[in-house]
Amino acid sequence: MDFSYSEEQTLIANSLRKLLDDTYAQDQRQRYLESDLGYSADNWRQYAELGLLSVPFAEEVGGFGGSSVDVLVLQTEFGRRLALEPFVSTVVLGGGAVRLAASAEQQAEILPAVIAGECRLAAALGEPQARFDLNDVETTARADGGGWVLNGAKAVVMGGDTADKLVVSARTGGAATEREGLSLFLVDADAAGVSRRGYRLIDGRGAAEVTLDNVTVDGAALLGEPGAAWPVIEHVADLGNAALCAEAVGAMEMVNELTLDYLKMRQQFGRPIGRFQVLQHRMVDLVMEYENARSIALLAAMEADNPDVTTRARAVSAAKVYVAGAGRKMGQWSIQMHGGIGMTDEYMLGHYAKRLNVGEQTLGDVDHHLARFGAIAAAA
């Protein structure tokens, strides 16, 4: 049993941390947020150069052949600095769908550009009526000659505002919320009939509502067998949640750092507020939440690549429940302990709380994953 990073992971974590230290000072980050793009194109290029965008992909297509633990290493650093680049949407979600569903030929066609930082992806899986059920798909794909015609609407597509290509789930068979009959398609974001409404999420990251109105794609756009995409969709969501948990743990680390510093620095009633027992004990709670969140996020990363869906789901949903719950409490408590300053846009704490909030409500909230875990636990 070993909880430490490998030498290689430590190296890459350190170089990413250095890059982010240099490029993510608060005012720099603010400039990225205020730009149309919403993140740093420069950083994106540097991630590509460092090979970060290649991590989970097979060596055959120029990838690093890494695991979800390697993704955790990066995501923890991104979380610490609240990086804005579309790593999760491109590499983990969109890229994950491609590598799990697509043929070797399709991967060789698609992924090199992704790895080079020249093609951003997004996974358009959720729908307006679906809440968090990714099997609730009303978007349809109708066979048309050798190709397909897609119609439907996709909701809150993370990274969908700036993506070059979208991985879209659509129903080629089955009814209503059935898991059978779902297929995945790779669609150019600027294809005729695709309209996107881009916006920012509460933490500043970009997303989009996507409408597909008679969008025509050729046969090669279908990733995998028609109607058999559900296991991939479920796995992609697990990869995404494991990555979001890792990011949250990085953010939590900073929440605690900021809060502990503040307790030591801020004077009221003639002494640092960290001398008040109620705040001390609350800070201990923050530390306990962080340590446990980190533990279970490691488990999720370890199991996120597991093809056995029960083992994987148990670990990932457990992590999502714990990390989301801890993140919400930590956001609330840390703001409370800061008082007014914690409520301001100028101070970074609130930005961490908002990032934790978005992670919590992406790809299934606590109740969603509590039910998923609960069904497994009750059966076991």
């Binding site: 959720g126 307006p128 009526q129 809440r131 968090f132 059920d133 909701a155 809150v156 919320t177 409404r197 916006y199 920012r200 999420l201 509460i202 933490d203 997303a207 509502e209 004077q267 009221q268 009633f269 003639g270 507020i273 008040f276 109620v278 705040l279 609330q332 703001i335 409370q336 008082g339 007014g340 914690g342 409520m343 301001t344 846009d345 100028e346 609130g350 930005h351 709380a353 908002k354 909030n357 978005v358 409500q361 992406t362 909230d365 109740d367 509590l370």
Partner: protein, 398 residues
Amino acid sequence: MDLSYNAEELAFRDEVRAFLKDKLPQDLADKVKKSQRLSKNDYMTWHRILFDQGWITPGWPVEYGGTGWTAIQKHIFDEEASAAGAPRVQPFGVNLVGPVICHFGSEEHKQRFLPKIRSGEEFWCQGFSEPGAGSDLASLKTRAVLDGDEWVVNGQKTWTTLGHYADWIFCLVRTDPDVKNQEGISFLLIDMKTPGVTVRPIVTLAGDHVVNEVFLEDVRVPAGNLVGELNRGWDYAKFLLSNERTGIAGIGASKADLEHLKDMARLERKNGKPLIDDPLFQARLAQLEIDLMALELTNMRVLVEEQERGSPGPISSLLKIRGSEIQQRLAEMKMDAVGPYATPFILEAVDADWNGEPVGPDYAAACARSYFDRRKTSIYGGSNEIQKNIITKAILGL
């Protein structure tokens, strides 16, 4: 024992309902119900309607424009106004400085200030907190030094709600630096147009500009603007803060908010059923409603006692703690109710004059914003930790 309203109170409730039906502008109520951002004009519209009705300052002594309502009547008004979607009356003039002037101000103060607070002609803000004096308000550093017949004021105030709308600010200032904290503080009224007063916006994490920093640099204030006795400002502040806490429980608003949440939960769907029928969500909603019921009754008990004995007392701290927690839980459940559509942040979508297409259901835009905004309720007006300290001393004797 009788926990229902008596005939007189029921008649009063009918009167309030009729007034609201008649006088509350529908577009204003719609904005409030959708949690849209209100402009100064929105607030003042409602203020003037209440003024015209003679209901703008129910809490004041009758001779200065009070209505003579009982505590229960005030509660009924509050509850009905909230349910109807009336905006919150901005409290700085009406509920905070007004009563201080009524009780401790000179005759000149009363004649000069009270009518314009009532009419809404002058908008007030509060200058208590400072960067170094938050929970520990008594450590404030803003200095006022008498120079001839003027006070010269230097310092900085912060968290000044709607300071950018204000014509006047009531400040706690240190007038004797040589005594211990609570002593040596005075209560001073300052015209915001005086040279040396600068307002700088503070943007909150919900993206709003509501609070401000107020810088005071060699601000010259007529000596007569000092309220009550020199160096007795702390007493007036305590008087004011205990008034502030009662209102802060916000029972009426929370009851209205709960109905809004229920409406949302009837529209949202989970597993093919209305969210309100989801066992987990329903149980959590039920617990929240029950906690609010209990607090409402405790509030009524306090009001009846207050009516019999005079002032609200330290028990108001208890109402503030629970009331703010419930406000936060309501915001939290609304955010949870809209699921994935809680995260898109279209700030302009909460502007009343915005005509864009919403992302997700139209009630979704305000949810995450309100969630973060509501974090302030357990911080302002004396944080909940400070309230517990107050109860510890005043009620428990520990």
